[in-house]
Symmetry: D2
Subunit: 260 residues, 4 copies
Amino acid sequence: MRIGLMGFGKTGRAVASILLESQITKLHWVVRRSTLLEHRSVPEFLGIPSEEPGLIYSKSELSADELLDRYPVDVIVDFSSASGIDYYGEAAAKRQITIISAISSYSDLQVARLKKLSKRTVVMHSPNITLGINFLILSAKILKNIAPFTDIAITEEHFKTKPEVSGTAKVIARELDIPEEDINTVRAGGIIGVHEILFGFPYQTVRLKHESIAREAFGNGVLFALQNLQGKKKGFYNMETLLMPYFNLDYLPDQLNAVH
Amino acid sequence: MRIGLMGFGKTGRAVASILLESQITKLHWVVRRSTLLEHRSVPEFLGIPSEEPGLIYSKSELSADELLDRYPVDVIVDFSSASGIDYYGEAAAKRQITIISAISSYSDLQVARLKKLSKRTVVMHSPNITLGINFLILSAKILKNIAPFTDIAITEEHFKTKPEVSGTAKVIARELDIPEEDINTVRAGGIIGVHEILFGFPYQTVRLKHESIAREAFGNGVLFALQNLQGKKKGFYNMETLLMPYFNLDYLPDQLNAVH
Amino acid sequence: MRIGLMGFGKTGRAVASILLESQITKLHWVVRRSTLLEHRSVPEFLGIPSEEPGLIYSKSELSADELLDRYPVDVIVDFSSASGIDYYGEAAAKRQITIISAISSYSDLQVARLKKLSKRTVVMHSPNITLGINFLILSAKILKNIAPFTDIAITEEHFKTKPEVSGTAKVIARELDIPEEDINTVRAGGIIGVHEILFGFPYQTVRLKHESIAREAFGNGVLFALQNLQGKKKGFYNMETLLMPYFNLDYLPDQLNAVH
Amino acid sequence: MRIGLMGFGKTGRAVASILLESQITKLHWVVRRSTLLEHRSVPEFLGIPSEEPGLIYSKSELSADELLDRYPVDVIVDFSSASGIDYYGEAAAKRQITIISAISSYSDLQVARLKKLSKRTVVMHSPNITLGINFLILSAKILKNIAPFTDIAITEEHFKTKPEVSGTAKVIARELDIPEEDINTVRAGGIIGVHEILFGFPYQTVRLKHESIAREAFGNGVLFALQNLQGKKKGFYNMETLLMPYFNLDYLPDQLNAVH
């Protein structure tokens, strides 16, 4: 799979390193706003031995149409900013290039635009494109469904300087129908990121906990998305849509099923 | 629902207290091997104000047929021992009384017998009839299905004097296809019971953790089973069978589904 | 050691069971406000086989002077209420009976009164007389002393119906000079009691965590106090005073010390 | 303080970055075995803006005597390997330069050599020079002293590819007199490093837990050592020696002390 990557900040670089190291993807180019690293090679910049082209371009030197004509790709992965879609959206849709966007700051209008593009190509949007967090949310929803009156507490821990409540914790709260104000927030030292969803039953406690180690987790989330979008019809997807089939327990061994 | 309870050890008593306090069940009798508390009232013995009959009988004074003729019930809940089924199995099946057995020490032969009874009535068997542990096992199976090559570690902590690896941890290991010898076992002080399933991804960690607080959790598991067995056809069920429908994410909100 | 116990609520009973089972104490009597269990035997009431006298009296039937003349003890352990000291304080001091009070709701005046009594006998006061919590507080103070600019976060978890922030968490906050409003409070299900003090360093995290299992922990705290007050001069003590000698590392092996 | 650093592997680089950013230290040079980065500037190499000299030399181009004559320092910090001391030991001792060695793989002979050097200059040796781990060990020793018969369990978690039991866990076990075989070891994914010491009391549990975030923690440990070695007489020190004064609770507020 030929990949074009939008964005080359801290997370973009971590994702690039995972794409370079994966056997199933080829990183064809990176596009960013800044002209600072123009025409540098990503493998060389990151110190990762690789034969993949992976050159860095700036938005200002090439339009998306020019870019995609000269350096065609199968998928555009977007870790830039909310306005990235304005650059490549139309050009990608008309070429039926799959779009995977990990932008968390879209306005409602931009999400609507994304959905419109999804009538012409495969579009996936996930503001937290990690397996762990998305699995946590789905599991927690199920447990809430099993035991709807159980007390739920959400705690998130991050480094001292992180402002506000984490966006991920807000998503968890929204999905579980818990007021955002009830989230427990710890800010201390250099904690990378911990999210815990606690279910307090009268005589037992269940804790679903996610600990971040590094931004590269987003890259692995992209790989999972790439594999699970393969063969999909055009339409609008997210991580939960892709994870859903794995929650269908029909594939589970026979001994689980009632014997008649 | 009229309930008969087999067994009145520590767990049996905890389950009895939950059944007495529940609005949906009426505890009609308890049968135990010992004659020690014969004809005592369970509500009085446990100090729980209740109008429910709940008298204690011993196996030796009444056959199951006599018992069920005089004091008919809808469900027999078994927290006695592996041989309990020999006492009431046939008598229950022929009256189509639902059987919920929480015995963990059945021989293969006894399980086979249970399955045979399930051709005539609803039979549920769960060696660990708590919502928390069973949810944990199913979630872990799903996560393993999503990420089959992830490292999994199982840790269990219990009070100093608990012999051997916990049966629950062994079930978890078996269900996740992990060698029993790899279970980490901590024995210290008075820890009631902790089970953790850790999924170690390269750049993130997911921990699914269950902490026991009291034996009454088994009683709540029984209530869940009672509610979810209602209207079920005769057959052989377990906690996983009953939990499965809650893992079907079709009930989840629309925004999760692809838009075409 | 002959012990008299004030108070026979849930915690008083748990403490009584520990005192009955200990080899170093003899429970001579229990005094409580209510006349409900008057003249019942504590061992019999708790179902603990024991030769110790342990009869229950009510405040109203005997003055403390009468009580201590008829049934002399070496130590009075107080788990009753703030007014307990009014009953036995003077009578104990004039007989130089050691007082161990675990009351958390004293007014300033009552604490002053306790201190005045301590000029005539050994008085110990600890509103949370468990080894674990007191050790946690002292350790945390030391770590704060080592690394005064480190971020500290306090979290406490308790059962759903526990009102307000836990008193123990407030003590921890006060001792570490952290605003009470910063304590993270989780109320969920039947959690018995968890306190965590987190130290967030830039590149590492230290967590000091205490989990309560049962009220009997207070009884073990009393035993520790009894052993460590032995031979002490009259004066006012608390758990920290008694724990302090164990923090003096001079007893530690030689290899720790500088070689000159 | 003028610092010379031995070693420039992953940990050496992390320590160098902390030394460059600290206000109290000036990194004068780095010496390493390899000639690969000879004469490169450390600030430039690490991308840290700094006026500090910090040039990289190889052992082969300069003897320690030449090095220390041309580029004198107050302290040598050693994160190289067991043989580093052979290079600079004698030259440092005769100039009374403080030695801080973080090498964990010394032979008994090399430790003896280090101790001999400590008769002529200040020598500090700590195989795990982080505040967190050393605090944990000392706290745990104290708690064991308070409650010598309590069950202790040590658990360590690290990334999948880490071979053997962690050296830090072995030190913890040795200091607490627990058989090395009893350490629980978890190897999974990319876990950076977790150590937990659990004290299981009959009715409560205390957990002392350390989580590593990044190697820079060693740099902060060096800064702590530098500050606490200031003004010290020549002799042999370790982290525990330096932490000990902070465990002396005499500095604690008056209300802790008995009133006579």
